[in-house]
Amino acid sequence: MRMNNKPVPLRPLIHYADLSKLVSRLKIPVHWHVKKLRGGEIPGPEGRLLKLRKSVTALIKYERIEMDYYPAEEARGYAERLISEAVRHGPQCPETMEMADWWLEEKQLIHKLFKVLVPRYQHYPSSFTNFYRAPFWYFSDGFQSQLNEKYPDREINETIPAFRTVSYPKGLLELKGNPYPPIFRTNVTNPRSIQNVLLSSAKDFFKSQPPKDTKDSKAEVSNAENSSNTDFVPVEPNSEGNVKEFSK
């Protein structure tokens, strides 16, 4: 039994100060806990890296991927590391090239890494990837996708509720500066956008119209409480609530 409560290091300590000079510092938070990735054909750390390699290759290829949350989070770190090494050392460095050669299964992506991504991320102050939590259940899918995972060989009626099915969280990983439309719409109101021009001119038009039924106006006032057939009066479009214009 240990007498003192001090933890005893199981392996020799690495001097982290020196290590940080050798390896470029990632600009994403990396958790100390290494997630185990099960279910591969090859067990152990090798199988884990082989699984992550697929994700990293797909990320560099498609620039936006949706997959399980935790494998995506792991793959993110390796992709960041690969890009930052490529930015730092370039294609002339044999170690970097070897690393790129291993991580990218499709060899044309090595060209993309050094010719497209390195110029793009040359002066990036922040990290090179974005990571979001994605919905693991789309309403229109019903429960079918989850039930298919559980019972792959059964024909499943999609109206069956998901009973005793486990939903793993999904993540969405993307390279910054990708050509796709942004994931989150920006809530910017523009008075010159077409629907706001139409609405403001409609407001002016209806206000300029002479009020109808001038003879019956007094009668209407008297029966204002229980009169159901009121004239059409447009409400002034409220820039926050009523009218929303989303830039693409």
């Binding site: 789309y138 309403f139 229109s140 899918d141 019903g142 999609e158 109206t159 069956i160 509720p161 050509p179 796709y180 439309p181 523009n190 010159r192 956008s193 077409i194 629907q195 021009v197 139409l198 609405l199 001119s201 409609a202 038009f205 209806f206 059409f232 447009p234 479009p237 009523n242 009218v243 929303k244 214009e245 989303f246 830039s247 693409k248």
Partner: protein, 343 residues
């Protein structure tokens, strides 16, 4: 005793799925069910012949430098003079630009059709309706809606009812609706709501085809030959040619019409569309079709859109042919120049 519906039943709704990207090449005829009238077909064939002729007149291909400035990167492209279009340039930038650009802007001041060949070295931008200042793109969109309405109206009626398109005025978004004037061979026609809905449906069908607007600048003789069956247009053509020394015509599918332009890239940019009303203009003996539309990707709640629809049901008095007597232009489309330009 009533049976409560099972709460397990889930309706299939709610997920917005983008349509599959279609090929850019589109079939030209957009309604196969309606046989084309001879005049329409003849006009389209003449357009084809004229286009072929102009293409052959280009001769030796020269290269021009096009400096493209866009959100997705700037490029200096070497393109073919009188052949390459802004659409071709956009293909070098991004597919997203190809799909969403409404109109191109040359040297920061001249709106230019996406499918019109470039004639000289220039600086090229692409305008969208979601820009900070979408003035040009909005007007181009509005004009294209009028043009599409013309294509729909000319095919919507039975064969025994004669339809002669008059014109459509310059785009005025403040007036609340886009407009088309046409002679319809019907006496005291009061369109039912079903008929209006059918017209709106035809507009949506046309937009789903994603047909491109083809532009051609022709001489007076060719234009008069094309529109020889349309007495209104014949009058317009001579006046236009007197002022501009050219007549600009556009083709959408098989529908050919006169317009100053520019038009938007393709019909798929229309999102929500309503043909709201048809009014009879007594003095001109014309029917005025009115509608309201929003570009794809622009969202508006139902109530607010209802306000726009209600307004479009009232007569839009923007440039009624007989009332605009002082500043009367035969095709009022040519009358106002779009000189204001967005950044």
């Amino acid at each position: 005793m009533t049976v409560r519906p099972s709460f397990h039943v889930i309706s299939r709704a709610g997920r917005w799925v983008l349509t599959k990207p279609k090929n850019e090449v589109t079939s030209r005829s957009f309604s196969l069910t309606v046989p084309l009238s001879n005049a329409t077909l003849r006009r389209s064939l003449l357009f084809d012949a004229e286009k072929k002729k102009q293409r052959q007149a280009v001769g030796r291909i020269e290269k021009i430098e096009v400096d493209v400035v866009s959100d997705f990167g700037n490029e200096l492209l070497i393109m073919n003079k009188d052949l390459s279009t802004p659409h071709d340039c956009a293909k070098h930038i991004s597919k997203f630009v190809v799909q969403t650009a409404v109109v191109a802007l040359i040297n920061s001041n001249q709106p230019w059709d996406m499918h019109r060949p470039l004639t000289e070295a220039c600086r090229l931008q692409f305008l969208k309706t979601t820009d900070k200042n979408p003035w040009v793109a909005n007007n181009v969109f509005w004009r294209s809606c009028s043009f599409m309405l013309g294509a729909v109206v000319s095919k919507a009626f039975r064969d025994d009812i004669s339809v002669v398109l008059h014109s459509f005025p310059s785009p005025n978004i403040q007036s609340g609706s886009f407009v088309l004037d046409a002679y319809i061979g019907l006496e005291s026609w009061n369109p039912s709501p079903e008929e209006m809905r059918q017209l709106s449906k035809e507009m949506v069908k046309l937009s789903e085809k994603e047909l491109i607007f083809e532009r051609l600048s022709v001489t007076k003789e060719v234009a008069e030959d094309m529109f020889s069956d349309n007495p209104y247009k014949l009058g317009h053509i001579s006046k236009i040619y007197g002022n501009h020394n050219e007549v600009v015509i556009y083709r959408l599918g098989d529908h050919v019409d006169i317009s100053r332009g520019p038009m938007m890239s393709h019909t798929g940019l229309i999102g929500r569309c309503t043909i709201a009303s048809v009014h009879y203009l007594k003095e001109d003996q014309l029917y005025r079709f009115q509608g309201v539309a929003l570009p794809k990707g622009h969202k508006l709640n139902h109530y607010a859109y209802g306000i726009l629809e209600k307004r479009a049901m009232l007569l839009n008095s923007h440039m009624i042919p007989s009332e605009a007597s002082l500043s009367y232009e035969p095709t009022p489309e040519y009358a106002t120049e779009a000189k204001e330009v967005s950044n």
